[in-house]
Symmetry: C2
DNA sequence: CAAAATCCTACCACTTGGGTAGGATTAAGT
DNA sequence: ACTTAATCCTACCCAAGTGGTAGGATTTTG
């Protein structure tokens, strides 16, 4: 599995915030209730998003979180990368471009590198706005019969 | 991580067999030595490939394994799918098309479904032969500066 | 000053990953 | 027939990661 619940719930939180933004701060308990997820677990996840600069937060009563930018200015890759640490499909693709010592002669490395690029390319191209507007043509490109491809 | 060592080593074994095929059977100890991998571990992996019909095997002295088909007739998706069980990037994409109970209203599902298709599409398009011939243009499509894209 | 919210540090059960160990069985060559 | 070399099979095991829970400290508003 490449994306764990951590990344998936992080995206769910971001989408929830995008859908329910009215300028004010949204409390985590509201989000947890709407999405039917454990608030305690979400706490640890939203903390990553917050520290990573994805959100603005306000402590105290009537506090909560809101998006730091507009939905169209978040791409999915950065959200998942922040929470998952890496999205590499295999261990031999390092996050910082470091390669294993057999890289020069490894005949399968180009495959993994290509796969990594394909994944990153797909996720980087989709924004939070695409998700909340349900841009199925973009997300299911080439695979959705009911969309005009 | 989507592809563990199990799937990676399985592919390594298949590539090794494809490179070293001369009609005869190749012993696992030869493969393990060439690839510098634990023979005991490879044993459990090659067993999956064998039972899945990817290989032909011969027991006893001078026995070993060889490819059941030609390298061009294996795609990478089927090799990894067999050994990994699933290549789905998230748990909410089930292997047999079964969906989670929130699927109808889930706004992130199209993203995951699209990602799954992109991965499957990439891996299904590449064959064992592409790997042994080093078809970088196909594997690194659009991302390789030294290839003419 | 009470209520409601974020923040912070532990802890923990369960599953998966990445193997190892040991032996049973089978086939070839002498 | 017997040795050797190979596949086959079952069981075990440790470390790391996943998916949380618990409890409290701190901050802000009304």
């Amino acid at each position: 599995m490449m994306v764990s619940t951590k990344g998936r719930y992080a995206l769910t939180v971001m989408v929830d915030l995008a859908k329910n933004e009215d300028g004010g701060y949204v409390s985590l308990s509201d989000i947890a209730e709407r999405e039917n997820l454990s608030m305690k677990y979400l706490e640890s996840i939203i903390s990553i998003l917050n520290k990573g600069g994805m959100l603005l937060s306000l402590r105290g009563k009537n506090g909560g979180y809101k998006l730091a930018r507009e939905p169209k200015d978040y791409n999915i890759n950065e959200i998942l990368l922040l929470t998952e640490g890496t999205l590499a499909p295999v261990n031999c693709i390092m996050q910082d471009g470091v390669q294993c010592d057999k890289a020069a002669t490894c005949s399968t490395l180009p495959l993994w590198a290509g796969l990594d690029k394909v994944i990153e390319g797909y996720l980087s191209d989709i924004t939070l706005e695409d998700i909340i507007t349900g841009n199925r043509r973009k997300m299911l490109k080439g695979y959705c019969e009911s969309c005009d491809n």
